[in-house]
Structures are given as structure tokens and as C-alpha cells.
Symmetry: C2
Subunit: 242 residues, 2 copies
DNA sequence: GTCTATACACAGATAGAC
DNA sequence: GTCTATCTGTGTATAGAC
């Protein structure tokens, strides 16, 4: 059995968001470090503790301002002021405003991929797989709620490669849910007459609402576990056999 | 009984989107006409067949461009060119770009209110009320899909009154679903242990996905009736008693 | 009522001092 | 590596001709 694989990330977030949150922080640091290597031809500043700290602040500040007024309406002067770096200094971390957008996208996408890829590995039954997947998605979108919101809202302005990658990611997530259901049908754990791809779509819509309407759930004191469980219950109740 | 009230709009869209679409077109014309009266202190051009036609084109063109690049990134030169009116002419239909945004919002909000207000009137059972409401919402958001998308995406840039009205509208729609479920619990048509407000939220999220991910459902040839029915089935299956 | 030409503010980006 | 000063393009909005 695979039970002894204790370094696997997925055991951390099945039932507890707090543990998940702690583990993802370390991963995010690694990802920013990796951004330097992946973009070394674009970044003038050499990789160092100080510069990693600065890049992280630039990314988070840009996301924060953009979520209030939109990326295109965020001026470099504003970003400069809010991140406590001069405009000149900013431009040594990225060559243009467009490239900063790409860097921000790379940052979040890397975190999401790392999380979801581990979410299905140890789950066996349809019920457990669906449960784990929904929880993993809610948890990562809670930990990175600002990035998720940013990415969702700015996607439509993306062009070329960046746009395609985002659409691809949307459809890939959906296809994972679709597979869980299709597999459940095959194993007679689910009803046989289900429109699995349509159910996968609405499941994703429910999960996305968590970060799209964060203000609403916060106001009502709904915690990630509670929301994830309700989503799971609604869908599982609809698909499961007998 | 109320059955003889044949002028009521709701009988048109329960099962058939095409009939709904035809009836809403007339309503939209009335709404643009009303926009002149409500904003006569802002609009320099006098109300006429030509000017109503122009204002409608301005609104639809602005929505269309904004949905591709965002309202703030849409330039007046661009809107001028795409709507075949000079910049000078545009500014006799609205005093500023900000005011145009308000006019666009008034336009859509009036149409939505008119539709949803009639959706619950004749329905009696919980099942029928939920069915009708979900269908009405999917149908109006299909007919005005560009406006719905626009409104959803630009809300966060709104300030003051406009922002409050949009939030209010979101919560009001949800409270209607919440009431349907609460009423069903009281009448023992629904399970007694339901978190009705949370279910109302995810129901709304599912309905919103119809216009937020229009490209996806179009690609898969999903029609409004099919999507509405699936949403209804998932939720009704979860809430209904026995 | 609609046009063209233009005023004036502010955007992104860069050069060169330190 | 970071700063300030500045270049150039584009934005919103308006004035005045037709």
C-alpha cells in the first residue's frame, strides 16, 4: 500500500484548512525562487533574499491593487508607491507591465498545479475522490484567494499563450471531475444516466463562487470546510447510486 | 384562480426560451425609451427614433468592447469608431464616461427586475417555484448575456450608489431562492435540516456560470432549457422531502 | 445634431546620476 | 541596485465650424 508515503502533501488538507495553509506557505516561497530561474532573461536584478522578498511584494501588491480597480487601470506610479519601490526599481524586476502579468500568472498556476496534482492520488472510491478534490480546490483557492480572483477577472484580457493556458486549466480541472464521475458510473457507484460533463461544469461553478464572492461567505462566517462539505453533499447526493 | 391573467409575462418562458426571447425584445425597447426620461438632465440630444436607435447602439457597442478589454481600457475613440458616431456626438448622449456606465447599468437592471418580479407569481408548490425561478433567471441572462457578463465583471469598479445597488441585487436574488426553500421546509416539502442560505448561494453560482462561461456551453451545444433543467434537478434532488 | 481639431492630464517606459 | 527627471503616446473631454 501507499500509506507510508508520509511526505505526500494530500494528507494535510483532507479535513483541516489550517494545516493546509501552513504547508502551502513554504511551497509559495519555493515558487517565487523558481520564478527567477524561469525568467532570468527578463529580470535584471540578481536572485537574493532581498530581491525575492521584493518580487513577492511586487506580485502581491499588484494583485491587491488590480483586484480593486483592474490591472489595466493600475498605474506603475501607483504600484511603485504601494510597494515602496521606485518606478525605475520596478522595471528591473520585469521588462514591461505585460510581462509582470505573465509572472503573476506563472506564480499562481504553479501553486495550483502542485496542489491539485496530489489531491487524487490516494483516494479510491468515487466518494473519497470527489470529497478530496473539492476540498483541495476550496483550500487552495482560500489560501490564494486574491490570486484566484485576479486570475479569473483578468483572464479575458489575456492574449495568445497566456489565454490558452488559462482556458486549458479551466477545462483540465473540469475534466478531472468528469473523470471521477465517469469512473463512478463504470464502477456502478453512480447512476448510469448522468450528464457527467455538465455536472462537472456546475461543480466547478460552485467551487469558484467561494473566491468570487468571498465577501459574502466571510460576512456569514462560513469556513472553507463547511463550504466544501456542502458542495460535496449536493453533488454526491445527485450522482451516487441507491 | 389567476389563470385568466393572460397578459402576465411569466407564462411565456417556463418551457420555451424562444418565446421568451421575442417578448423581451419589446421590453428592451421600452426601457431605452425610459432611459431618456430618467436621464433627461444629462442627455443633450432630444428623444427621437433616431436618437433612441443611437443610444441603443452606444450601449451595446460599449458593452461589447468592454467585455473584450474592460470598461476602463475602452477608449472613447474606440467607442466612437465602433458605434459610427464621432466623439463629439457621443458626448451629447452622456456627459462623461462614468455616467455612461450608470446608464448601462440602469438599462440592464430594469430588464432583470421586470423579468424576475413576474417569475414567482403563479407558482404554488416549492417544486414549481424553484423550477420557474431558475428558468426565468437562465432565460433573462441568456437574452442579456452580454450585459450580465459586463455587469458581473465591472461591479468591482463601481463606487457608491452603483456598487450598493449591485450588491443589493445579488443578495435579493439569493433571498428569493432562500425563501422558496424556507417555505418548502415549513410546508414539509423539503428536508428539515437544510442550510437554506448556503444552498441559495450555490444555486446562484450555478446560474451565473451560464453567462460567465458562455463560450463553454456554446461549444458543447448546451441550450438554455437543458442547463436550467440540470441546475433545477441537482438542487431539487438535494432539498426535497422523501 | 454631428463633425474636426485641439487642450491638457496622465499613462508606460527609459536615461543617466548616485 | 535604486533613484529622479523626462520622453513620447494616448486618454478624456471640449470648443467652435458646419
Amino acid at each position: 500500500m501507499k500509506a507510508e508515503k508520509s511526505d505526500n502533501i494530500d494528507e494535510l488538507f483532507i479535513d483541516n484548512y489550517n494545516n493546509f495553509r501552513k504547508s502551502i506557505k513554504i511551497i509559495l516561497d519555493d515558487i517565487v525562487t523558481k520564478l527567477y530561474d524561469d525568467n532570468k532573461q527578463l529580470i535584471k536584478v540578481k536572485k537574493s533574499d532581498q530581491s525575492i522578498h521584493n518580487l513577492k511584494r511586487i506580485i502581491n501588491t499588484a494583485i491587491s491593487i488590480s483586484n480593486k480597480k483592474g490591472y489595466s487601470a493600475m498605474s506603475m506610479r501607483e504600484l511603485s508607491h504601494a510597494s515602496s519601490l521606485s518606478i525605475g526599481a520596478l522595471y528591473s524586476y520585469f521588462p514591461s507591465k505585460d510581462e509582470l502579468l505573465h509572472i503573476i500568472q506563472q506564480y499562481g498556476r504553479a501553486a495550483v498545479e502542485k496542489t491539485l496534482s496530489g489531491a487524487l492520488s490516494n483516494a479510491l472510491s468515487t466518494k473519497d475522490k470527489l470529497y478530496n478534490f473539492i476540498h483541495a480546490h476550496i483550500f487552495i483557492s482560500e489560501a490564494l484567494k486574491d490570486w484566484f480572483y485576479f486570475s479569473y477577472m483578468e483572464t479575458r484580457y489575456f492574449t495568445g499563450v497566456e489565454y490558452n493556458k488559462t482556458i486549458e486549466s479551466e477545462l483540465f480541472t473540469e475534466s478531472l471531475i468528469d473523470s471521477i464521475i465517469k469512473d463512478g458510473i463504470k464502477k456502478s457507484e453512480c447512476k448510469s444516466n448522468l450528464n457527467s460533463s455538465l455536472i462537472a461544469s456546475v461543480t466547478k461553478a460552485m467551487m469558484q463562487d467561494w473566491y468570487l464572492k468571498r465577501w459574502k461567505y466571510k460576512r456569514r462566517n462560513i469556513i472553507p470546510e463547511e463550504y466544501a462539505l456542502e458542495c460535496f453533499n449536493i453533488i454526491y447526493n445527485y450522482i451516487h447510486q441507491g
